[in-house]
């Protein structure tokens, strides 16, 4: 977030467009939409100074449902598009939304470099451990023994991607995990993430009732993190790696200078051309 003057009196519904989401009944993404609009209302950010960027997938439909500026781009490239926007327009509050396939598979490289670059933006991944829009294939966060996809009848057979661990080693400066079954908790995490100066990553466990009905059990499995958020990457790494992926809260937060390309005005085009004269 960046020096945006808050506007008081805004309500969460003022940040919704009213377009009916394509999501299935019971989808966790409804809760993320709600948490995003609550967070924006809480921060009272002017609509015109916020941009919500996404790629492709169920969760990437989110920008059209919020009434801030949005870009629904191509699969996997949301972070790249958002980084370009933030570099060119550092005055904007830039939010990025997407799913686990979009962010960790096709967009995996951009995830690494966005964490590393530590530009001031917030990345919300709605993790449902499945490709929903293409009708139920395994994603990088799907368990190796999940055999419900015709594409991988024996299960994906490879270890799951641990988003928080990758974010940590790649240089993200705010890492949190939330659960869509706890919308107030998620809202609070999003507010903290947006206020964090630097690259903030929020993994929102977002059940898919259609392709992963067993996610109903998540409600019983999630729990708040026991310890205070740490700024020590070694401690954070240990917690993230020994955790079952179901603890929610801020997992890591540190403050390092954000990266933003240098800009300044010291010349006009004519002065640049002087060096070419014989």
């Amino acid at each position: 977030m960046h020096g945006n003057t808050p506007i008081t009196g805004l309500k969460p519904k003022d940040y919704k467009t009213g377009i009916k989401p394509v999501w299935c009944p019971g989808c966790g993404d409804f809760s993320v939409l709600s948490a995003v609009t609550k967070a924006l209302a809480h921060l009272a950010l002017p609509h015109q100074n916020v941009a919500m960027i996404s790629g492709i997938g169920c969760s990437s439909r989110l920008p059209a449902y919020t009434s801030v500026y949005g870009f629904h781009g191509v699969h996997g490239r949301a972070l790249a598009l958002a980084s370009g926007l933030k570099a060119a327009r550092p005055d904007l509050t830039v939010l990025v939304a997407g799913g686990d396939g979009d962010g960790f598979s096709i967009g995996g490289n951009h995830f690494l470099h966005a964490c590393r670059r530590n530009m001031d933006m917030t990345y919300i991944v709605m993790d449902n451990e499945v490709y929903g829009m293409t009708k139920g294939q395994a994603s990088p966060t799907t368990a190796p023994d999940w055999t419900q996809s015709k594409l991988t009848p024996h299960g994906p057979g490879v270890p799951q991607f641990i988003p928080a661990a990758i974010a940590l080693v790649s240089g993200a400066t705010f890492i949190a995990r939330g659960f869509t079954g706890n919308p107030n908790g998620l809202t609070k995490l999003l507010v903290e993430a947006i206020e964090h100066p630097g690259f903030s990553f929020v993994q929102a466990l977002s059940p898919c009732p259609t392709y992963r009905p067993e996610h109903k059990a998540w409600k019983k499995q999630v729990r708040p993190v026991e310890e205070e958020a740490t700024s020590d990457p070694i401690i954070a790494a240990q917690r993230i790696q020994t955790d079952d992926g179901m603890s929610t809260g801020v997992l890591y937060q540190t403050t390092v200078p954000v990266w933003q390309p240098e800009q300044g005005i010291s010349a006009d085009t004519g002065q640049l051309e002087e060096v070419f004269f014989v």
């Binding site: 870009f71 051309e273 004269f277 014989v278």
Partner: protein, 577 residues
């Protein structure tokens, strides 16, 4: 100093310099080009190198003239061999004749057969011994002195260049180099050039610039203030020039993690209201195609400068070819109307990039600008390039527009774009087909209307007189594009001088190609030769598809890396008479 009895003058002279890694070939060429420029001449310097990162043999090929030079000649007047190591690799790039002069050191060993076979005259000089006699002396500086004297440049002019260029390296190096140059300049030469350059009476103000620098400058002139890009040969120099330059004019450059990122980053920058560009070469352009489709559909203006190299795949990264026309025209998925422009020469790299940026901004679409290695990594002494036509700029939405619709169907197909920060303008740009408001839609009517809009808006493009450069007249036409234009124009001039008239049309606005203007410019023509440097005749087939060529039109299409030479074109045209 020798009296060479040079009585004839000519408009251009071609000089090649070759040597092994570390011998300073490129430095020598650059200094010679500067000295020639200071003396009032024009010139072009192309480079050729092996794939080695550091060291390895290299060659520079200069053509110096009393008038602007836009292509290499059919043969070289001088070959300066600093040594003979691996020179055979360049033999085909340096055509020699019996009247060429080869300057070499007898101590460097026997002249390789690939060079000796031309029966050229030779001037043997003890380059190594001369430099060895000077503390800190270098062979290339001796050679520079020799060349300066043979070309008739005043000794002071070359010394000035060396003084300036080497000053950062310290006094000792400057002094040693000055001594070498004077030694080379004054050493006894038993052979010389048969012609010298026509003197230039009152030299115009000129620039010394590389094609890639010229492209970078065109971007800034056109208004680009954000660049995201991934390094790639032979386009990286555009980025290296732009990085500090953009910073000075209030813009910025972001080095992306890959080309998938760079294209999406500039879409983001442009969505934010900042004119944005990336530069790449063939393989990078391939990676960008999905993003370019997004830019077309979301009507986000972006510019891609593609510096072509030998392809496909990794191909020949360090050498030139005009073989990315097909991907630039047809590489998109879906129906994706966009702009493709090609730079005719180094000077045109500035104009065409400038124009391309302005057109992309006005029409809210993609512009692909084609340059190539033979322009990008070559240097030229040129007249300062002209400014592109102003165009109308990006049409933006006013704050608090009632019922704002981002993709509104307007008369000219261009709808006002709300820039983030504009109150009441918030909308979601989308790569999904959408309705006028931008809401995703799979309805046939919305698809039809938005396709019509995106195609129709380009009909408002006024190609002005800039769509092509046209010279000459007659019943024979040579149609060409990009870096082959220089050779085509020269072929036209030589045919004219030989009493055979030809008109040469070099097309700059490749897509949408103004067919009516092309047809008009071909009126009265009964034979057409389409000239381009690629294997398949990509431009020829494009013109065929647009129904702009008569049945008897022919193509002169051959792959790189050897440049198309004027004599080659003349030989083809001569077959017709």
């Amino acid at each position: 100093m020798t009296n060479h009895n040079t009585v004839l003058t000519c408009s251009t002279l071609s000089v090649a310099i070759t040597g092994s890694g570390g011998s300073g070939v490129v430095t020598t060429g650059q200094m010679l080009l500067k000295a020639i420029a200071n003396a009032g001449y024009y010139g072009l310097m192309a480079r050729s190198a092996g794939p080695q990162i550091r060291g390895g043999e290299s060659a520079v090929m200069l053509r110096l003239g009393s008038e602007p030079v836009d292509c290499l000649d059919d043969r070289f007047d001088v070959l300066m061999a600093l040594d003979w190591l691996n020179v055979s690799r360049f033999a085909e790039e340096i055509p020699l004749t019996a009247s060429s002069l080869i300057i070499c050191d007898p101590d460097a060993g026997e002249m390789p057969e690939a060079i000796a076979c031309h029966g050229a005259r030779s001037l043997e000089l003890p380059l190594k011994k001369l430099s060895g006699a000077i503390d800190g002396g270098r062979i290339n500086m001796i050679a520079l002195g020799v060349l300066a004297e043979l070309l008739g440049l005043p000794e002071t002019s070359i010394l000035t260049v060396v003084e300036t260029a080497l000053a950062p390296k310290g006094r000792e190096i400057v002094d040693a180099s000055r001594l070498c140059i004077s030694r080379g300049y004054s050493t006894e030469k038993n052979a010389g050039l048969e012609q010298t350059l026509t003197p230039v009476a009152s030299p115009a103000k000129r620039w010394n610039i590389s094609g890639n620098e010229a492209s970078g400058l065109g971007a800034i002139r056109g208004g680009v203030r954000f660049v995201a890009a991934y390094p790639i040969t032979p386009a990286s120099e555009i980025l290296e020039w732009l990085a500090p330059s953009l910073e000075k004019v209030g813009g910025s450059l972001l080095q992306a993690e890959d080309e998938l990122a760079s294209i999406n980053m500039i879409i983001g920058g442009s969505f934010g209201g900042v004119p944005s560009l990336t530069a790449t070469s063939g393989p990078g352009l391939s990676l960008m195609m999905e993003g370019l489709g997004l830019a077309v559909t979301s009507e986000t203006p972006v510019v891609v400068t593609n510096v072509m190299r030998g392809g496909p795949s990794t191909g020949i990264p360090t050498k030139s070819e005009q073989s990315d026309l097909n991907i630039a025209l047809y590489g998109f998925h879906g129906d994706a109307p966009h702009l493709v422009l090609g730079a005719l020469n180094i000077r045109d790299c500035t104009f065409v990039t400038d124009w391309g940026v302005r057109l992309a901004e006005q029409f809210q679409t993609v512009a692909i600008i084609l340059s190539d290695q033979s322009q990008g990594q070559a240097r030229s002494v040129i007249d300062p390039p002209p400014m592109a036509p102003a165009c109308k700029g990006r049409r933006t939405a006013r704050p608090d527009t009632q019922e704002y619709r981002r993709y509104a169907l307007t008369e000219d197909g261009i709808s006002p774009m709300a820039i983030p920060g504009t109150s009441g303008g918030a909308y979601t740009a989308d790569g999904l087909e959408h309705n006028e408001k931008g809401t995703p839609s799979s309805m046939s009517l919305d698809h039809q209307q938005q396709l019509d809009k995106r195609l129709g808006k380009l009909t408002g493009l006024d190609p002005t007189e800039n769509w092509a450069e046209s010279r000459g007249s007659g019943k024979i036409a040579i149609i060409t594009w990009g870096s082959s234009s220089g050779a085509a124009f020269e072929a036209g001039r030589r045919l004219e001088a030989g009493g055979q008239s030809a008109r040469v049309i070099a097309v700059r606005l490749l897509c949408p190609l103004p067919g009516t203007l092309m047809t008009a410019s071909l009126e009265g023509v009964d034979r057409i030769l389409v000239v381009e440097q690629n294997h398949g005749g990509q431009f020829f087939h494009y013109l065929r598809a647009l129904n702009l060529l008569p049945d008897n039109a022919e193509m002169l299409a051959r792959p790189g890396p050897l440049p198309i030479r004027p004599g080659e074109i003349m030989a083809r045209v001569s077959e017709w008479s």
